[in-house]
């Protein structure tokens, strides 16, 4: 088991005589001068991401993390000094790539000395327009583990806002960067963290009529990419378990499309339910105890639930007519939003977790499909089909529908762990090539995820513990 333990900081940095790093030399002009609005924000820090225009101007300087001793590590990044730079790049990348901030650094900024990490030179930074300052350090333990500290300072107030520390195995060094980015993001936005999380998806290669589809996983920023299946059997629609120990997905391994549970600790898999009928569209309950799947029989498709431990008889939750498929639990596990064409076309319905009280909630014209309940509970993301396929959100009552994307074919939204960002996949007209994208709730900050090959069916897992 990989461990990442949070530390109480202070031990390492107790003897930090503020080094006089007045290396005022090469300061970049990237940091913009603060406006009045931002000055207000840095008082209360009551900022919402749903209107990000002011956010992006918040000047956040992210500096290369210092080290108490520049020694070799067992990471690919190199020594602790080099690792300090790499970790700060992870932090800057997280905050920048999600369109939430426009941070500067670590390149082009002065490098705080180790002793400066807990005692920043506010004058230096305020003189160069930084509103916020992120500093940190890397320390290599005798057992090969790494301790990473992360500090967030409000330069204008001249005070520390937050600090965090994590002890990580060498292979997990990027997680320390994500934890630091999460700390900064959460403190400044008031939102829950989301960077330290993983994504399961389908890697696609080959021509449109003979596409090879493999189960794959990656970190939220695309790093630590790994294929889990060979591609001999077509894999589709993965879902991470809430504890990241398993992935449910559809495979054609036995000819008939069937839902398997892939165990990440043993790298083995088993059928979730043995049947000659096709099973598909697997989903976890928030507590990981239940699995939803859909099964076709005699042309109709219904949603079933079964215990994730395996065994037992599946309980049918829908009873036709037509196609009932998918399903996404509300965060408290009490309700399920799903898709049905019982009205004649794909529409979104909500039911209790035991299948009672099924009600249609989508009345927008066109078709509404692939509903996913936000982990915050406040919104449902779905695919709206009216000619093109577009990702949209609505309230759980089916109100306030609005589009987040506008393209030829965007489908299958999945939520970030904090419910502020939606990932989906985009198919290119003609070639059919698929790529994974994400967009925030404003619809403005849209970004393609870096994947080695074509990519579809993203499934964002929860925040890692």
């Amino acid at each position: 088991m990989k461990t990442l333990s949070a530390l109480a900081l202070g031990l390492l940095l107790c003897a930090s005589g503020p080094a006089l790093a007045q290396s005022s030399g090469t300061f970049t002009p990237e940091i913009t001068a603060p406006t009045q609005e931002e000055a207000q924000q840095s008082d209360g820090l009551e900022v919402t991401v749903s209107d990000d225009s002011d956010w992006q101007d918040l000047g956040i300087a992210i500096t290369t993390f210092a080290t108490d001793a520049d020694v070799p590590t067992q990471t690919t990044a190199g020594t602790t000094g080099q690792l300090g730079h790499a970790i700060s790049q992870v932090v800057a990348g997280d905050l920048k790539n999600n369109g939430l901030f426009k941070p500067s650094g670590p390149d082009g900024l002065p490098r705080p000395a180790f002793g400066e990490v807990s005692a920043p030179n506010y004058r230096l930074w305020s003189g160069n327009g930084a509103d916020m300052l992120v500093q940190g350090y890397v320390h290599a333990g005798n057992d090969g583990t790494l301790t990473v500290g992360c500090y967030l300072y409000d330069v204008a107030l001249g005070q520390q806002l937050e600090k965090g520390g994590w002890k990580v195995a060498p292979s997990d060094w990027r997680r320390a960067g994500h934890k630091c980015a999460d700390m900064v993001y959460s403190r400044l936005s008031g939102e829950s963290p989301f960077f330290d999380s993983r994504i399961a998806y389908i890697a696609e290669t080959g021509s449109k009529d003979h596409r090879m589809k493999r189960l794959a996983v990656m970190d939220s920023d695309g790093a630590n990419h790994r294929y889990l299946t060979s591609g001999q059997a077509m894999a589709l629609t993965p879902r991470y378990s809430p504890d990241y120990s398993k992935i449910l997905y559809l495979s054609y391994l036995n000819g008939q499309p069937s839902v398997y549970a892939y165990d990440l600790t043993t790298n083995s898999q088993k059928l979730i339910f043995r049947t000659t009928n096709p099973t598909m569209a697997p989903r976890w309950s928030p507590d990981g105890k239940w699995v939803l799947f859909s099964m076709s029989q005699g042309g109709r498709t219904d949603i079933y639930r079964i215990t994730s431990a395996g065994g037992g008889t599946p309980e049918r939750l829908t009873n036709g007519p037509g196609i009932n498929i998918g399903g996404s639990y509300s965060p408290d596990g009490s309700k399920i939003v799903f898709e049905s064409d019982r009205s004649g076309s794909q529409q979104v319905y909500v039911m209790n977790a035991d299948g009672t009280n099924q009600k249609r909630i989508s009345f927008f014209g066109g078709r509404s499909a692939t509903p996913e309940w936000s982990p915050r509970g406040d919104l449902i993301a779905f695919t709206h089909i009216a000619g093109n396929l577009r990702v949209a959100v609505m309230s759980p009552a089916g109100r306030n529908m609005r589009y987040l994307t506008d393209s030829w074919q965007d489908e299958a939204p999945t939520w970030s762990p904090n419910g502020r960002i939606v990932q989906f996949f985009r198919t290119q007209r003609g070639s059919g090539e698929a790529t994974i994208w994400q967009v925030d709730l404003t619809g403005r900050n849209e970004r393609k995820l870096p994947t080695p090959v074509g990519a579809s069916d993203p499934a964002w897992g929860p925040i890692r513990r």
């Binding site: 598909m280 042309g299 898709e339």
Partner: protein, 180 residues
């Protein structure tokens, strides 16, 4: 839309060739089960290995024979989101049923497909529903249900590769493939 259908049949020749190759690859399995009835008409053939000479054509009762005999009628087509069997489909399925009645030992899989303009999971269910429609119609014509299985590929295996109405019409299909 006869024009799009005839085009689809031309386009289908590529996959037909693949099916022939598949039939050849499976010939070892076929020879393990020599229960097949001899074909009714024509001169008796003594070859035990099928298709050794291309000039002789496919071995009667094989998938290659089925595909050749159907001349495109191994596939039926559907409107967007629909799964009903129309008059044209009925003709094709009647032809399929006739062949299947001729070779009562043969089993068949009906593969259901959808076009790319739908969501992935729904299309899997829709492909299954289409295959099931074809299956039910074949059963109504007297083919034993135990001989027929269905398999949905959703939108994952298009036969026409364009992104236009004509291509989508060709991809909304159910294809009967007999098992050698």
């Amino acid at each position: 839309m006869p024009s799009s259908l005839s085009m689809s049949r031309n386009l289908k020749s590529g996959s037909t060739l693949l099916l022939v190759a598949g039939a050849l690859a499976l010939s070892a399995c076929a020879s393990k089960a020599p229960k097949e009835l001899p074909p009714e008409p024509g001169p008796a053939r003594t070859t035990t290995q099928p298709d050794s000479g291309e000039a002789l054509g496919p071995r009667p009762g094989s998938q290659a024979d089925f595909a050749a005999q159907m001349m495109g009628d191994d596939t039926i087509y559907f409107d967007t989101d629909k799964y009903d069997i129309d008059a044209m489909d009925q003709q094709a399925l009647a032809k399929q049923a006739q062949w299947l009645m001729t070779y009562p030992e043969k089993r068949a899989t009906i593969e259901g497909h959808a076009d790319e303009r739908g969501t992935r999971e729904y299309n899997l269910a829709l492909g299954e529903r289409r295959a099931n429609s074809a299956k039910n119609y074949l059963i109504s014509l007297g083919v034993a249900a135990s001989r027929l299985t269905t398999l949905s590929y959703g939108k994952e295996r298009p036969v026409a590769l364009g992104s236009n109405e004509q291509a989508w019409a060709q991809n909304r299909r159910a294809v009967t493939v007999t098992i050698d």
